[in-house]
Every structure is written in structure tokens, then in C-alpha cells.
Symmetry: D2
């Protein structure tokens, strides 16, 4: 599990007074890209080519401007051509979001889903949390 | 089922050259609010107080700037205190997104989930598509 | 002068309850691109390569979600390698924004500012409002 | 002069491959709010009520995702009821943006422009850079 801090932007609030639900998707993308960079750069590998097939965001509580966000990311499932990344967000140590995304390994030339090669799979397995909820 | 048109904004693209995945959450929110307004105003009712508990977005194809989007919305499930709204997005009649959100009926005073009253349920049932996929 | 309608997105509001100041820059870009497309496509010309050097936005009044915006665009100054486009925004016929941007004509190959050729200048002059305020 | 770091979000890029011009307005707002908080909290004062009347952004160079941004803010002019804040943005120590905004001191009750009181003016003067360009 890797943690990433984030500062909300004021423009990410909405007229209800809290962070807009769509800004959570922006935060998740930000954390996901940092996570993938960390995971693959740490191993000296080139960043593979991922395509996001799906994401789910559960809103457990409101987020507010002016409070730093902590985002904890893990690999939560590994399939043949894809894997799932999970993200929990916190403000003041209270969990506000649970999100996950399915990322498909796409061959750069054919642009088609391609099995995750063994070395890349080993990198993902090192980050796997099978009990993530 | 109700359809809503939308024009992409250029700032909703990203460096990959297509519409960023997070902009789809913005479009879905836009369509969802128009849908709810239409559904409840048509019946002469006040807009109820909904809280979004969860959303899932499946990315079936890329979206691009410069092409109008059509968003088809339906009620796809009705529970005790919540219902699910489904949204299919199209560019040039090709489906690019399937999304759904769970909206919880919240009492304005107590701010707690509250059963959907019969009249409101009847309004939602008139828009129900039980076979939505 | 050409007019473009726009529907605010809910995510463009902020915690103050109105449209966030940064969303006005998004709306201006949206109108500017439609304006340029209209102006040059109407004449059967290819869209030239513009680089935005500067923009100024004056906030004359608040904008709100749920009200359609009208944006009136004009060419307000033509220089040697650049021109200035002006934009006035209205909600319910009340002006809320005055904005302008300097667009520089850039050669695609050298990526350097290049004089606006006579034919392109004629297209811009047809839209010129020298008394715009 | 006070400096603030910022990490671009991927969704702030556009199809041209760089940071979209409208994201610069978001970054400027983020820095401006941190600057005002710093300036007034340091002196133990309550945050005054500011209304943004105008902003100008000069785009001196492109910004890119994946590179931290440094934003240097100063007070650059003090008037009777308003002041001007200036912001220079840098990536890899190369200046990419020069921006300024006029903030009007608004009375919370009457919602009208009100002269900046002497104590508040002293706080602003301590940050004044009269030669800012």
C-alpha cells in the first residue's frame, strides 16, 4: 500500500459547500498515475500502456476544501489482461471515499488487450492486497 | 427514458487527445440533474433531497471534442430509501459510456436516509426500465 | 458579432454558491473556439493556427447554475501577427462578464508568430467591432 | 514575496498535449487563497471578505504534466477599496505565466466595496512589491 497526499483546489468545491463528486474522480486519477509511476519506476521498468475500462466510486462522507487528503492505493485484483487498483481517501483520518478502477494492459502497436507479462505481473503482485475492502 | 444533448468543452480533453475519463463524471452529473428536474417538475412535485452514495462508469469507447453527445437516462432500480439511475452516452450513435449512480433519499431535517414516499415512488416507477443493461 | 448559448454544469459552481471564477475561463474558451470555427469555416478557409498569448476577464456580476448563458463574440482589434477577440456574457439579459484574449497567428512549421495573411485579415475585418467596450 | 508549490493534475492537460489555459486560472486561484490565508493568519487577523473584480493571465510558455510548478505571489498595487495581487509561475525555473488579479474589499453586511482599513492596509504593504513586472 502506498499513500499520496493531495491539496483540494477551491474550484473543486460546488454550491452545496463541499467537494463536488466529480472532483473525486480527478483526485483518484491523480493518485492512480502517481501510484503506477512509483510501482513501475521503482522496479526500473518502463510504464506499461494501461487503458481504464471502468471505475466505481463509493461516497462514504463529504470532503471539504482546506483539509489535506490522504489517498491509500493498493492492487486489489490481478486478472489475465487487466488488474484492479483500489483507493481509500481520508480527511483528518476519517475515510470519505472508497474507489476502484479496472486497468487493461493494451499493446501499443495493436491497441488490443494483451496478457500481462510475467515480470509486470510480479511487480503488481508485490502490491497486491487480496483482502482490500 | 429521456435523452439529453451535450457539447464537450475543449478543456475536458486531455493529453491523450480524447475526453478525459473524469469529464465523463461531469457529463453524467449534468444529465442526472436535468433528468431529475424533468421527472419531478413534470409531475408538479418539489425536487426531493438526494445524496449520491455511489457511481460506476464503464468506458466502452473514447469520446472526442467537436462531436455532440447524446445521453439516455432511465431509472433502473428502485429500493426502499434509494434508487439507481442509468446513463448511456453516444457520439455519432456509437455507445461510448455506460454509467449508473445510486441516489439515496435523505430527509432535509435529520439528514438521514428515509424511505421514498409512495407518490415519489410512483414518479420513479413511471421511468423504470427493469431490463437496462 | 456572433452569439453562442451555453448551459452551466453543476460542477462549475463553487462553495460560495455561484459559478466559480475559473469556469468563466472555460466558457470563454468554449465560445472562442466555436466563434473561430464559424468565422473561418463560413469562408471556406482552413482553421489557422492560433496561440493564446493573454486573456483578461472582468467579473461584472455573479453567474448561477440553472440559467442559460449567452456569449456575444467580436473581433475587437487586429494587429500585424495577432488579433483580439472580445466576449460579453449574459444571464437573463444582464451582463455578468467582459473578457478578451489576444490570439497570435503561429506558423505551423516554424512555430513562430507570423503576419496574418491578407485573406485571413479580411475574414477577421468582417467581424471587427472597433467600438467594443 | 511568497512561494507555493503545486502538482499539475493529469485532467488539467488538453488535447494539444500541454496544460490547458483554463487550468492556469485554477492554479492562480489556489495560490491566491493560500497567499491570502498566509498573509492574514500570520498577523493574527481574520480573513477579510474579498471579491475578485478582474484577472489577467499572460501565457509566456507552455506548462506540462509531471513537473512541479512554483508560484511566486506578491501584492503589486494597493488602492482605496482594492488591491492587486501578482503571480509568476515557473516549471524547472523557467517562467511560464504572469498573472494578476484585482481583489475588492467588500463589507460583509452591505456587500459593497469598502475602504481597506489601516491595519489591513499595513498587512498588505508588508507584502508590496512596487516594481513587479
Amino acid at each position: 500500500m502506498k499513500s499520496f497526499p493531495l491539496k483540494p483546489r477551491f474550484s473543486e468545491t460546488d454550491a452545496i459547500g463541499h467537494i463536488n463528486n466529480t472532483s473525486i474522480a480527478v483526485w483518484f486519477e491523480t493518485a492512480r498515475l502517481e501510484f503506477l509511476t512509483d510501482v513501475f519506476i521503482e522496479k526500473g521498468d518502463e510504464q506499461p500502456n494501461w487503458f481504464m475500462a471502468s471505475q466505481t466510486i463509493d461516497y462514504l462522507g463529504e470532503n471539504f476544501f482546506g483539509i489535506e487528503v490522504r489517498m491509500d492505493l493498493s492492487v486489489i485484483h490481478i486478472g489475465n489482461t487487466s488488474f484492479k487498483v483500489g483507493c481509500k481517501m481520508y480527511q483528518n483520518d476519517k475515510q470519505t471515499v472508497r474507489a476502484s478502477a479496472v486497468l487493461v494492459h493494451v499493446d501499443r502497436a495493436s491497441k488490443k488487450p494483451t496478457p500481462i507479462p510475467p515480470q509486470m505481473r510480479a511487480v503488481l503482485e508485490a502490491e497486491l492486497d487480496s483482502n482490500w475492502l
